[in-house]
Amino acid sequence: MLRKLLIGTALATSFAFSAHAADVKEVQMLHWWTSGGEAAALNVLKGDLAKEGYAWKDVPVAGGGGDAAMTALKAMVAAGNYPTASQMLGYTVLDYAAAGVMGDLTETAKKEGWDKSVPAALQKFSVYDGKWVAAPVNVHSVNWLWINKAVMDKIGGTEPKTFDDFVALLDKAKAAGVIPLALGGQNWQEATMFDSVVLSTGGPEFYKKAFNDLDDASLKSDTMKKSFDNLAKLVTYVDPNFSGRDWNLATAMVIKGDALVQVMGDWAKGEFHAAKKTPGTDFLCYRFPGTDGSVIYNSDMFGMFNVPDDRKAAQVALATATLSKSFQSAFNVVKGSVPARTDVPDTDFDACGKKGIADLKAANEGGTLFGSLAQGYGAPPAVANAYKDVVSKFVHGQIKTSDEAVTELVKAIDDAK
């Protein structure tokens, strides 16, 4: 009896599948873009898809950095309940692709010409084993200075071109009684700043060898030691109360004119926009001194999962919409980043955005586009976090000298590899 019932059910289900019910016109999207500006940026995509008749099922998991979202994703995937797409960062995409749960968008990619328009450095994370598994949404770049123009005018500063210029500028601010450097003392912020310091101290070749290839000799080198010394120098210019501060509060210090400069990725621009400030008149964006011509990037991606066939059409629509030029422009104007394809016109972007787009294009062509180690685009998470630990312990004094920092860095990275 039971057996018959089972067979019956099995048959019924197989019929249901072979009948291939009409495509599900819905995309299910897991993300952590819940704050005002980010949510507004995502609404652009929602609108684009609605025009094509696809409903949007939002699965927001709040928490900047996406730790909570990634835990939720892990649970969903473990239960076999894949979302259509999920916001993902760097190595996470590759981890999931290696686990065999990602979809395949190669056909769409060919049709849309992603191979040519998306920078090769990004394709390292969106293409796995020759198959497109993710659609990059934007490119953030990390090596920026954000400067309050009023304070800059007051102290008579000019754009710093070298690290020594930068230190001289910070000294001027200190003499004028302003907090020279706004920093949030959380490990990822300190490490993000250190990415730029290393690029500035050692140059592009060195950065790539040390932080993308994890070359032992470079990690141990005197240049790395010098980088730590430079970091220590910068830390002397922060206010005593910096530890544990959130990045946007540090940005607010620059916006209000309490501090002169913040070293932060271009998501900081979103904060300036929210405060109704314009680049050039209220604030200035320069590349971190000594890093002009190179871009340290991280990128938000929409990882595409291996969903049932009846949901594939919706997934293709989502991916196509994500990488369409109009969306790339509209979204990134709001988000503060630059488009993930290099052939998007920069007409709608502000001065900083235009510079960002030009820099990205140049860096892509010149081979100086590098993944940020602090942001998880330089090495797998275990290594990236070990790195953040060392930098943070150095900034806060558990690690006392740059010699010790270099030894610890090599040890921590070896241990995590």
Binding site: Q186, F394, V395, E404
Partner: protein, 316 residues
């Protein structure tokens, strides 16, 4: 039971019905308990075993089921002795020691002290008691955020006192790698001591007034009365309070996150923070599982002697 048996004998026609009923009644507690029993077996003990299993594999981002030996434990063991600069694991376990010791000690002392004061038959006890007890009703996240603002030198106590004119006042423990763990103790004690007070108060109320009177007649001073008679009589309460506090201390995670977000350079981590970081953020599930197993062993080391003494005293 016996009433059921007698009815069975008297009412033979209804015998079968009653026997079904009585059997049902016998089984009812088991039926009612079965779901929660099954849930506990699977979600507590099953997952404990699963975690132990995972700690011997090489699981990274996802669980892997190939046993590869005790490398995770070896790494933890190595980190235990990395004191300069301190490894994250070393920081976590020393913080556990500092936090656990001070938290339990201060909560017990403060709780007892407040209970004794409240027990002096004062007016307004009904108002005071809930005031002390209220913090326990808050979640650790709320406590953490409130104390974070209060202790922040740029926002809270220090800033306020500077505005009032005491400009030399300096209290930046929450920003200091060496002292940040003590701010976790402060917030934790604030939250739990009221609850411990309530436990002691209940204990004090349970002490026979005759004993106290007899002691007073014998000429005992108040201090002697408490030291020699009341506190020894409160021994079972001390034990219960200790167990409650010990497990609160070992499982605290949210307080550290909300209050310090890990502290400068990770200096406020407790083992639970270590476990979460390694399992979910660093994709080193095996190391995370191993640290969870070590935490479990610590709790077992505390709970088992307690259970043993409790169960042994029962038949008396």
């Amino acid at each position: 039971m016996s009433t059921v048996a007698t009815t069975q004998i008297k009412l033979t026609p209804e015998r079968s019905r009653t026997s079904v009923r009585s059997r049902l009644q016998d089984a009812l507690p088991k039926i009612v308990l079965a779901p929660s029993f099954a849930i506990t077996i699977v979600f507590v003990y099953g997952f404990i075993l699963w975690t132990i299993y995972l700690s011997f594999t090489n699981s990274k981002t996802f669980p892997s089921y190939v046993i590869t030996g005790s490398r995770a434990y070896q790494r933890l063991w190595g980190w235990t002795f990395d004191t300069d600069p301190p490894s994250s694991w070393y920081t976590s376990i020393t913080n556990m020691g500092i936090f656990g010791f001070l938290y339990i000690l201060i909560c017990l002392a403060l709780g007892l002290f407040l209970a004794i004061l409240l027990d002096q038959k004062i007016r307004g006890e009904g108002v005071l008691r809930p005031i002390y007890l209220y913090p326990m009703a808050l979640s650790f996240i709320v406590t953490g955020v409130a104390w974070k603002w209060f202790l922040d030198p740029g926002l809270g106590l220090e800033q306020t006192l500077h505005q009032w004119g005491w400009t030399s006042f300096h209290f930046d423990w929450i920003k200091n790698k060496d002292f940040v763990i003590y701010t976790v103790v402060i917030a934790g004690v604030w939250q739990a001591s009221g609850f411990i007070m309530a436990m002691f108060l209940a204990g004090l109320r349970g002490i026979d007034g005759e004993i106290m009177k007899a002691a007073q007649i014998d000429g005992a001073t108040t201090f002697q009365l408490y030291r020699r008679i009341v506190i020894p009589l409160l021994r079972p309460i001390f034990l219960s309070a200790f167990i409650v506090l010990a497990h609160l201390a070992i499982k605290s995670y949210d307080l550290v996150v909300a209050l310090t977000s890990g502290g400068p350079g990770g200096s406020a981590w407790l083992p639970s923070n270590f476990m979460y970081e390694y399992t979910f953020k660093r994709n080193e599930m095996a190391v995370g599982s191993a640290s969870a197993v070590i935490m479990l062993m610590t709790i077992v080391a505390i709970i088992v002697p307690y259970l043993y003494s409790e169960l042994r005293e029962k038949p008396r």
